[in-house]
């Protein structure tokens, strides 16, 4: 019951957020929503099925550049182009799946490392994909005649570009989260969990789970979600730079799922929110820290680099001391406050609500 209260509070925060914070924070919020989708995918592959991938950036790049290609060169609407971009990433996952099923765990990390560089090479050299000049300019999303790039009025609410993107991305991310939660509870999802338990592949196989099948499904599922993240990224950031889709991005996603909590949909979401809002947080406290460079200044540590340093240290600390991440910390706190000692207003609200 208390979880119902928690959900309501979370929903309220998410709905009010874009109306109370500044543009930079809304932008970070949209990025968190977009990142959460790929993070959920990676968490299924790496957290649940325990296959190590550093290729997420490659799949995201495929999703982003294919979607951008169809939106700009072919003039397709986002609603047509995004599924194609997602599918392209999933197909690439399917193509790599034979390798993924043959070489599992660590070797898969090596294969996906190769993927990142090969995808970069192809995009760098195909001008239809990279837009010719190295940077690809992408138009805004238009949904059934509503251009998300332009301010609109819904009843009493007036929303600008960022706020519209925020709600659109939120809706997509929630749908992905719900779908993944249900998928993980299904036979397919539990098969993925079974092969992911350390050294229990044999057990899984003997229980009738197809180890190869489950690995392949996890791999394709995760590639598709990465593609979807790419598809959403393209029209939102509007300018795609290939350098942003390097190995560093893959590491960022691995950091997200470790910080949030491995193997949990909620963990991916916590992690995405934390890592994407971190630069804003750093920017907010930057005036108090003399070693951080002001915007446009070259001396001192840049905000981006400082953010990477923070989450790098955090991931190492979590791996050493709390491998379950934020989700684990939340769980520990919850266990420490059993229902009996909860404040009365919470327990009352529980009885009244149900």
């Amino acid at each position: 019951m208390s979880s119902r209260l928690g959900w309501a509070a979370a929903a309220a925060v998410l709905l009010v957020y874009p109306f109370v914070v500044g543009d930079d924070w809304i932008r970070a919020g949209v990025m968190a929503g977009i990142a959460a989708i790929a993070a959920i995918g990676l968490n299924v592959l790496t957290g649940v099925a325990r296959q190590f991938s550093v290729g997420h950036a490659g799949f995201i790049a495929i999703g982003a550049y294919i979607t951008a290609y169809f939106m700009t060169e072919q003039g397709w609407s986002f609603l047509l182009a995004a599924p194609v971009g997602t599918l392209a990433a999933a197909l690439c996952g399917l193509a790599l799946a034979p390798l993924a099923t043959r070489l599992r765990h660590m070797a898969l990390a090596l294969v996906t490392l190769g993927l990142v560089f090969l995808v970069q090479h192809v995009i760098r050299n195909v001008s239809a994909l990279n837009g010719g000049g190295g940077t690809r300019i992408v138009p805004d999303i238009s949904l059934f005649g509503t251009d998300l790039g332009l301010p609109s009025v819904y009843g009493p609410f007036e929303v600008d570009r960022l706020q519209q993107y925020y709600f659109f991305v939120l809706a997509v991310a929630v749908a992905v989260g719900v779908f993944t939660t249900l998928m993980l509870r299904s036979r397919t999802g539990r098969a993925m969990g079974a092969i992911g338990e350390p050294s229990s592949e044999l057990l899984a196989a003997h229980s009738g789970v197809s180890v190869r099948g489950a690995t392949r499904q996890a791999f394709i599922f995760s590639s598709a979600l990465a593609g979807l993240t790419g598809a959403l990224t393209a029209p939102f950031v509007q300018v795609l730079a290939l350098a942003d889709f390097g190995l560093g991005l893959s590491i960022e996603y691995l950091a997200i799922i470790v910080i949030g909590g491995l193997g949990l949909v909620s963990g991916a979401v916590y992690g995405a929110i934390f890592v994407m809002l971190l630069p804003q947080l750093v920017e907010a406290v930057a005036p108090a820290l003399p070693f951080i460079a002001e915007r446009g200044e070259t001396s001192g540590v840049s905000t981006t680099n400082f953010t990477v340093l923070i989450y790098g240290v955090l991931v190492i600390a979590l791996l050493l001391f709390e491998p379950r991440g934020i989700a684990g910390i939340v769980q520990t706190l919850r266990d420490r406050f059993p229902k009996e000692v909860m404040p009365r207003w919470i327990s009352r609200s529980q009885t009244s609500s149900g």
């Binding site: 790496t46 325990r50 190590f52 550093v54 390798l99 043959r102 070489l103 765990h105 660590m106 070797a107 990390a109 090596l110 294969v111 490392l113 190769g114 560089f117 090969l118 970069q120 090479h121 192809v122 760098r124 050299n125 350390p198 044999l202 196989a205 190995l247 560093g248 590491i251 691995l254 950091a255 470790v258 001396s299 540590v301 840049s302 680099n305 400082f306 990477v308 340093l309 790098g312 240290v313 991931v315 190492i316 791996l319 050493l320 491998p323």
Partner: protein
């Protein structure tokens, strides 16, 4: 001929990095994704000693190798000892994050990252003529020193209990402990040696005609295809894989047709790695893993 020499010189650098990578894998079963970071850091340490502290090359480089050896050992003591028995995933992520921290840290440290660095050597920018073509004298020394170091390493591993312990350790960690192998000692030595080899490779990346900057990290990463190509379970394989990747890279850069795209030589190692993983996952010189299921 000059292509051959520069290919072999690059191959030697790859062989050094790959040997460190393979050594850490054999000693600890960890794929050390931070090896690229070690290489660049080692190069900068050597640069600082040779250039800022103006020590002679012959003193600065062994000192840098020593510093990075201690660094590898310290990392093992601080982190990997605590994590013995943890899932491989944890260890893999840890090395990846250490790498990310090292690179970001070096990018942030302006005295190093501001401009590409060259370590002054006794051979400066001298050229030597071999079989009618001129090659940098430094490249010949890089090849010579690498051969000596790699041969010494192979000899040491074949003669000492450590080499044997590593073989056992890599194939079965638990068994090594039961047999009375000092597992921690082995892993400490492996990390120290990995760091030391990376420092030497990093130095060579900053010796004429090369320049060192944080993006040299990509060279460290391309040693991973070299290890996989040669076979990670074999010391010989790392050296052979390194030489092959070095030669292929240099010749691709010179002769690749235009329609395959610019900078093809930077991805060819990965394409080779994917091919070998499909055809012969254990690598050219590796022993196939035996699965009983």
């Amino acid at each position: 001929m000059s292509l051959l020499i520069s290919g072999i010189a690059l191959g030697c650098v790859y062989a050094l990095i790959a040997s460190g990578f393979s050594l850490i894998y054999r000693g600890t079963a960890i794929l050390n994704f931070a090896q690229g970071g070690f290489v660049v850091l080692g190069g900068y340490v050597a640069y600082t000693l040779a250039s800022s502290a103006s020590l002679p090359f012959a003193v600065a480089v062994p000192l840098a190798v020593l510093v990075m050896g201690v660094f590898g050992w310290a990392l093992q003591q601080a982190m990997f000892v605590r994590l013995a028995g943890r899932p491989l995933f944890t260890l893999f992520l840890l090395t990846l994050m250490i790498d990310s921290l090292l690179i970001t840290g070096m990018n942030t440290y302006k005295p190093w990252s501001q401009s590409p660095k060259e370590i002054p050597t006794p051979w400066a920018h001298d050229l030597t003529t071999i079989a009618g073509s001129t090659v940098p004298t430094a490249s010949l020394w890089v090849i010579g020193i690498s051969i000596v170091v790699l041969a010494a390493l192979a000899w040491w591993l074949s003669r000492s209990w450590l080499g044997l312990a590593m073989e056992v350790n890599a194939s079965d960690h638990e068994l090594a402990g039961i047999l009375g192998m000092r597992v921690r000692r082995v892993s400490a030595v492996a990390w120290a040696a990995g760091g030391a080899l990376a420092a030497l490779a990093g130095t060579f990346l900053a010796v004429f005609p090369q320049l060192l900057d944080p993006s040299s990290h990509a060279v460290g990463l391309r040693a991973i295809p070299a290890v996989i190509l040669g076979g990670i379970s074999s010391g010989m394989g790392a050296v052979a894989g390194g030489l092959i990747i070095g030669l292929v890279e240099v010749y691709t850069a010179a002769y690749a047709p235009d329609f395959l795209g610019t900078n093809l030589h930077l991805v060819v190692p990965y394409a080779l790695m994917l091919a070998i993983l499909l055809v012969r996952p254990q690598g050219l010189f590796g022993k196939a893993e035996v699965h009983r299921a």
